[in-house]
Symmetry: C2
Subunit: 356 residues, 2 copies
DNA sequence: CCCTAGCGTTGGATCGCTCCAACAGGGTAG
DNA sequence: CTACCCTGTTGGAGCGATCCAACGCTAGGG
């Protein structure tokens, strides 16, 4: 305290940097023959550093194999240069695709990414969510239909947040942006496609209670009416699972006015529908057309080859990244909601309406 | 500096804690009428705190809704109470299952979990891997066949690390534990199952160049010889993809000594094999038995219903967690390798050898 | 010839926490 | 009565970075 520079250096500081293997700012500074502050400036490439000093510092860093300590940096700055991504369920391929779009954007802006699984989090009493907060993430991405627990809501209102994916428009927090698949439009695409093939008795296996499921059902109904098929609206309630799709299909196909086409709320349901059709000896697509939603890996298997709506996960991830970065810049801008247009991937499970 | 307690508090410290919304140790201490140190002790529930003080502090914490700042904590302690998990590719369901087993163990030991995707990391020039290091993770879990880049190797040798999953025994770093599926045994299970059904002409579609693929092929060969079927060993090289499985199967089925059973290196390959059989009008399992590996979601779809080897991802995650915790305790213990016995899930794609 | 401006550089305070040596106070032993 | 221990509590010195006010130096204007 009373002792000046040199002496102190050779006692406390120096011993510390010798003890731990990792070099610190101090170590680099000493090696380059400059002050800690200057090294810090180089680190954040400030324009007001002379070329000579900059070179010396960079050289020293390279020599020592120096890497800045993230914790110290976070403590000193207010921000953490890190965003948290809370996924609903890693199992679903949609998330992986979305992440592929999201992460490059964030990394490009110098942000690190922390991944969390909402499913895990529920099991873990939301420690994960809280630890994002403790950690001091600069922003948060909520992906998919995350259960809006108290913890999540309270954090989303404190930290710049973007909700992306299946999440519908029911999320209504003041400064949270929402980026979603246009589920209603996607459903309409399917109905239009099937109607174009001559189908009229087009049934729907819904995927309640999820928000996405509700919107798809809504879109189905609206599109049917728009196509003048309002009288043929037929909905059986599934649960987004293969099993549910199977059972619904069995019910639908045993009706007198058996549908010639079924639009399933998601691909898994559609796979179940396909199994049921096969089990009942109904030919697809000759006697029955099937369409799913998500354009998942399942629908792309040649053994199944299902027509499906593509939720455009990748571009959605990209946009989510950009929206989040903007919101971090301006945390109190008014919340915005954006819908992305889906695309229909036509494969082998849909065909013209049977003659009879 | 020269000024004692009270005065200093009311100048620098107090203003700081007023400025930022979040309460700090200082804030809590003042409210509870104790020192910062004592609050810290309570936080780390030290036994040497009187009940009275503890209650007062806990009350203050609750009142202020206090949460410790993770960055500060990490900086002060040497450790970060965090482990990094580097996955190969989130798309594969195996990882999700493994994570389900892994994370509860780690959380239970007070560790937080940082997830990273190796695929992302390759795209990102390994920034992710490095940022784990900067972050100061206490340990690292390498899941699956992560490409052993320079960065990963150099970090794995600095930080307690456990490699889990497909990763074979080729990883040979001094203090890195390996926990793997017993791929050879799994392959043997399939061969034994098929031989038990009377099959002799059992072919294999391999999954080179991955390590898991190599071991499965090895296990197949050994088991065939052990069953006295060494003369019938027949291997076609696939690439772990559906397309590869399809093509291999077409080749295999067009042979004069057409096999009556095919063991595919993984489920995706097996799905391709199924498509090929269907396309060629070969009945499964009446004329051809098929078995896959991984017991993935695909194999469980009732439209496919494939016999498959279960890699027991969940218990593997659990064990990996325990191994890592032990290694963090004793970083320099000798490296150990453990293999977990797989299990065969028999479904509808395998049956007795056809009569002719 | 002095005063100011700008550039590059520096020391020191600071972020919020942990850890350690020191300490007060009450009980017991010498 | 003094010495000593034990329990609970405290202040202060770090951890490794950022940030800001102040500094020395050279150059240009009055």
């Amino acid at each position: 305290m009373a002792t000046p520079g040199t002496r102190r250096d050779s006692s406390s500081r120096a011993s510390a940097s010798r003890a731990s293997g990792r070099p610190t700012l101090e170590t680099v500074a000493r090696r380059a023959g400059v002050s800690r502050s200057l090294v810090s400036l180089v680190l954040n490439d400030s324009p007001k550093v002379s070329q000579a000093s900059r070179d010396a510092v960079l050289q020293a860093m390279a020599d020592l194999d120096y890497r800045p300590n993230a914790a110290a940096r976070r403590l000193a700055e207010r921000r953490s240069r890190t965003v948290g991504v809370l996924l609903n369920d890693l199992r679903q391929p949609w998330y992986a695709d979305m992440l592929d779009g999201l992460t490059p954007v964030l990394y490009g802006a110098g942000k690190h990414v922390l991944l969390g699984d909402g499913r895990i989090d529920q099991m873990m009493d939301e420690t994960l969510t809280w630890s994002f907060l403790d950690f001091g993430v600069d922003g948060l991405v909520l992906a998919g239909s995350i259960p809006m627990s108290e913890a999540v809501v309270s954090i989303a209102s404190k930290i710049p947040t973007v909700a992306v994916g299946g999440r519908g428009l029911d999320l209504d927090l003041p400064h949270v942006d929402v980026l979603a698949n246009d589920n209603e439009r996607g459903a309409a695409l399917v109905v239009e496609h099937l109607a174009g093939l001559g189908h009229t008795r087009i049934a729907h296996i819904s995927g309640l209670p999820s928000v996405a499921g509700r919107l798809r059902m809504q879109g189905y109904g609206d599109a049917m009416r728009a196509a003048g098929l309002g009288g043929h609206v037929l909905i059986d309630h599934g649960d987004m699972s293969e099993e549910g799709g199977y059972r619904s299909t069995v019910r639908l196909l045993s009706r007198a006015d058996r549908p010639t086409a079924i639009f399933a709320a998601n691909d898994l349901t559609c796979v179940g529908a396909l199994s049921a059709a096969t089990a009942l000896g109904v030919q697809v697509p000759a006697e029955l057309s099937l369409a799913g939603f998500d354009n998942s890996l399942f629908s792309r298997l040649r053994a199944l080859w299902l027509t499906s709506v593509d939720g455009t996960a990748y571009p959605m991830g990209q946009q989510a990244g950009q929206m989040l970065l903007k919101r971090i810049e301006q945390p109190s801008a008014p919340a915005q909601t954006r819908l992305l247009p889906p695309r229909l991937e036509v494969r082998g499970s849909t065909g013209p309406v049977p003659a009879c």
